[in-house]
């Protein structure tokens, strides 16, 4: 049976995900499960790279889809490589790998799909595994609560999304998202449908009025799973936003209204939060706002938004990789112990926080620079001023997170694995020098 080239990455990841579940059958195999996952994810990156500009079967690997697809595959590989040394992976490693690969499959669907149905399937594929992952055996009781909350809200979002797809179909009789055909905006039903889709994606991304779940889940769930959630699943959702926004350009206004609300509320809530994981959760709300600000700025905004999605995924990974090494119940960051025992990862965390704040010359600054440029170019200067002021405000919580001395300052038991330092070193290089690659990326886009 021949498979269309545009489906090859999805087929590879899907088959591998199914296979991975069988690794739990024998203990000898189980030890190799995560390595298998890493290998598959790297292969997926390779296949996505070669599927560039392939169209067919409802999927189109256009430039932004293939850039994000390569990133998603490599990010999954890095996350799985990291989890392999984490205590969380001791129970059911095969299932863990299978579920993670399913998340990757969903994310790849989301970034490349050219039909609304494909988006819906992708959304479900990456949401469902998290019901199990967020309360993975071996994590705390509070993780169960987080998983339940996520299940409830993600279920609601999926339902909204499904309803939106149905109403859109009712409105214009087409599920296509390819720009020439997919002018989504004909008639009231289409507008209502699109509104529902935006609401559903806003829930998934935790954009401001729909953000209530994010801090609890960031705090309760095991850190490696939050790492996967932000670095893979969320970037997939960002890809879906990009797909939708590129066919509904006339709908820019709600995007930047959402962006403004999200920036303000996310930053203010983060400023008030004392615990590091809650802070990261609320700051993610603010970053969703920066992303939407780019997206609301017209055709050039799509490029800036893609770059921002990429940078956000990298920064999230760089902050939660080190946080996963700390004990699950730590409120602050025990810097002195951390610096002594895992100096590279501690450096990565500090750099990631600075980069999230937008400190030049880190990657985060150049991502924000792109957003500022396209918002000004689109004439949205109030939004650009708001973005500048909010980024300045964000220093008021990111920097104290670096400076704050953990009062308890007991010497916590950090999780250790030999190769984590190498991952951390790669992360430092990427965050510090990643912007040198942006020109090359822009020529691809």
């Amino acid at each position: 049976m021949a498979i269309e080239a545009s489906l090859e990455p999805l087929a590879l990841v899907g088959v591998a995900a199914l296979l991975a579940f069988f690794f739990d059958l024998a203990p000898i195999l189980a030890r190799w499960a995560l390595r298998f996952g890493v290998l598959v994810a790297i292969c997926a990156a390779w296949v996505v790279f070669h599927a560039r500009l392939e169209l067919g079967g409802g999927f189109y690997w256009d430039s932004s889809a293939s850039v994000l697809g390569v990133y998603l595959s490599l990010a999954t590989a890095a996350v799985l490589a990291f989890i392999a040394g984490h205590p969380l992976a001791q129970r059911l490693p095969g299932a863990l790998t299978g579920l993670s690969l399913t998340v990757l499959l969903g994310a790849l669907c989301l970034v490349s799909s050219q039909t609304l149905l494909g988006l819906f399937v992708g959304l479900e594929l990456q949401v469902l595994p998290f019901f199990a992952l967020l309360a993975w055996p071996g994590s705390r009781r509070i993780a169960l609560e987080a998983a339940a909350k996520y299940a409830l809200l993600a279920g609601l979002a999926s339902a909204l999304f499904g309803l939106g797809v149905a109403i859109l179909f009712l409105g214009n009789g087409s599920l296509a998202l390819i720009p020439p055909q997919g002018t989504l905006l004909t008639g009231f039903a289409s507008h209502l449908g699109l509104l529902l889709l935006y609401a559903a994606l806003a829930f998934e991304l935790a954009v401001a009025p729909f953000h209530a779940w994010v801090a609890d889940i960031y705090e309760g769930a095991p850190a490696p799973i939050v790492l996967l959630l932000g670095a893979v699943a969320k970037v997939g959702i960002l890809g879906a936003w990009i797909d939708l926004a590129s066919v509904s350009e006339a709908w820019a206004t709600p995007l930047w209204v959402l962006a403004a609300i999200s920036m303000v509320i996310g930053n203010l809530l983060a400023l008030r939060s004392q615990r590091i994981r809650r802070l990261m959760g609320y700051s993610a709300v603010a970053h969703a706002g920066y992303f939407l600000a780019a997206l609301g700025a017209g055709p050039l905004g799509i490029v800036a938004a893609t770059v921002y999605a990429l940078a956000y995924g990298l920064m999230h990974m760089a902050s939660f990789l080190p946080l996963s090494v700390l004990p699950e119940d730590s409120h602050g960051i025990p810097w002195s112990a951390f610096r002594r025992r895992q100096p590279v990862l501690a450096g990565l965390l500090a750099l990631a926080l600075l980069s999230l704040a937008g400190m030049p010359p880190s990657l985060g600054f150049f991502a924000k620079l792109g957003v500022l440029l396209v918002t000004l170019h689109g004439g949205l200067w109030p939004l650009a001023v708001l973005l500048a002021l909010m980024s300045a405000l964000s220093f008021a919580y990111y920097l104290p997170a670096i400076w704050r001395v953990d009062r308890s300052e007991r010497s916590p038991a950090l999780k250790q694995a030999a190769w984590w330092s190498y991952l951390g070193a790669v992360g430092i290089v990427v965050l510090l020098l990643g912007w040198l690659g942006l020109p090359a990326l822009l020529t691809v886009l």
Partner: protein, 484 residues
């Protein structure tokens, strides 16, 4: 090559010391002196030493540097401050961390002076802010709130500056099709003009004036200069301000000449009010450090007055005052450092009558206080005189207010001197308190000779600023120049 070395050498030293902190006492002073030699050779080499690297499409060469008389003069000033600051911090327990932060700061400052690409300038400008905040954080009272306030002011302002320049970049690019951040590209044809120009100028001002710090953006300065170690305050109030002033002259005014002209009357007024207001704050200061902090802010507002007059004489005066004030900052905060090294924290209640115990220190303190008052023949006088005289030609009333501020500062300095040095010996002061040691005396002499040289023979330094306005803006201001 020299210009790149000026930036990279301090950073390399900082990296080295980060790995081997035990070397800091051996390495710091020679490294700082080498930096000074490099800066001097850049000044004497003159011309345009240009080197480029890191080409990015749509941005240009990110690492591209250009020499100019103004940049070289300010670079020499900043480099000259470094060894003094290090020497005054010698015995502090936080010396190692302070040295690293100071070298990063000075390297980034050199980058701001010579950058030919605006994004390059901005990157260095932000590194100055970050290392400055780091210095406040690790030295002196280790005041987190002061460091954060400093950083929020500077970062918030400089993001607005970035926005304004992005607007100009887009506007230029859409007009002539060349999207670039290089100075020549941006300033070649100054646009945009019209209603948006004053707003853009205000946004640039928000980023640049906050570093100076000009009146209403000054309120970070008291806590920052007042709570950090004196050596850190020297670098912040003497060297970091240079970046803000340089940005105004080299970027803001040439990029938006119309906006600058429209803002000038208000700028002169804010400078004048700031001079007076900061002098009042200094009069009311609770301790010696705050006094030095507000006195320094008062001088910087006078610099702003001179810059915004957009008049040759005033501009020369303002720039000269910047250089002179760097020396004065070392003098004032040096006295504080010496007092602190003898266990005197600087509250007025704990001081008084010191002259009897330590006559040499008393004499040198008087010397620096007289410099601060602007006594003719000492470093500050030519700068204060020229900026006031120039500003008076442009708009007399604000200049009169500023002159009143200078008069007030005479009272302020004399009163502070009286509180510290004169009167009966404060019983709280420990008996056998020592006078200046040999090393301290050497530094005082070096500083004193520099102050006298600037005061008695200002022409070599003033000559460096010759032709600055015409080069930057003769075309742009054509005819609109006032007060000539």
């Amino acid at each position: 090559m020299i210009l790149s070395a000026l930036v990279l050498w301090p950073w390399i030293v900082a990296l080295w010391l980060g790995g081997r902190p035990q070397d800091s006492h051996h390495l710091a002073l020679p490294a700082a002196l080498l930096e000074l030699v490099l800066a001097l050779s850049a000044a004497f080499a003159g011309g345009t030493l240009d080197n480029r690297a890191l080409y990015l499409p749509l941005i240009g060469y990110l690492w591209s540097q250009q020499n100019s008389n103004l940049a070289a003069t300010l670079a020499v000033t900043a480099a000259a401050l470094l060894p003094f600051a290090l020497r005054f911090a010698w015995r502090l327990e936080e010396f190692r961390a302070l040295v690293i932060a100071a070298f990063v700061l000075v390297g980034a400052l050199m980058g701001t002076f010579f950058s030919q690409n605006f994004l390059g300038f901005y990157l260095f400008y932000e590194i100055v802010a970050l290392s400055g905040a780091w210095m406040i954080l690790i030295s002196g009272d280790r005041d987190r709130a002061a460091a954060l306030r400093f950083l929020l002011y500077t970062v918030g302002g400089s993001l607005l500056l970035l926005l304004a320049v992005l607007y100009i970049y887009l506007d230029n690019g859409s007009a002539n099709g060349i999207y670039t951040f290089s100075w020549t590209g941006l300033a070649a044809v100054p646009r945009p003009e019209g209603a948006v120009a004053p707003w853009l100028f205000l946004a640039m001002l928000a980023g640049l004036a906050v570093k100076l710090p000009v009146f209403p953006l000054h309120s970070w300065a008291g806590p920052a200069y007042g709570r950090a170690a004196p050596a850190a305050s020297m670098l912040l109030s003497g060297a970091a301000v240079l970046a803000g002033a340089y940005g105004l002259i080299h970027w803001a005014i040439p990029l938006l000449p119309q906006g600058a002209l429209q803002f000038a009357p208000y700028g002169i007024l804010t400078g004048a009010v700031g001079t007076l207001y900061a002098a009042f704050l200094a009069l009311d200061a609770p301790n010696l450090r705050r006094f030095a902090a507000w006195a320094s802010v008062s001088h910087m507002n006078l610099v702003a007055l001179g810059l915004f007059a957009l008049q040759e004489q005033a501009l020369h005066g303002a720039l000269f005052l910047l250089v002179a004030h760097a020396l004065l900052a070392v003098g004032l905060f040096g006295v504080i450092a010496i007092l602190e090294a003898r266990g005197l924290p600087g509250h007025w209640d704990g001081l008084g009558g010191l002259f009897r115990q330590t006559p040499r220190l008393g004499a040198w303190t008087l010397f620096f206080f007289l410099t601060g008052m602007g006594l003719p023949g000492l470093a500050n006088f030519p700068g204060e005189f020229l900026s006031l005289a120039g500003a008076f030609r442009v708009s007399p009333w604000p200049a009169a207010i500023a002159a009143f501020g200078i008069l007030l500062s005479v009272i302020v300095f004399l009163r502070a001197y009286e509180r510290v040095m004169l009167g009966p010996l404060n019983p709280g002061i420990p008996r056998g308190i020592g006078d200046l040691s040999g090393g301290e005396l050497t530094m005082m002499w070096a500083l004193g000779i520099l102050c006298l040289w600037l005061g008695l023979d200002p022409q070599p330094v003033l000559g460096q600023f010759q032709g600055l306005l015409p080069v930057h803006s003769a075309v742009h201001f054509a005819g609109a120049f006032h007060g000539h």
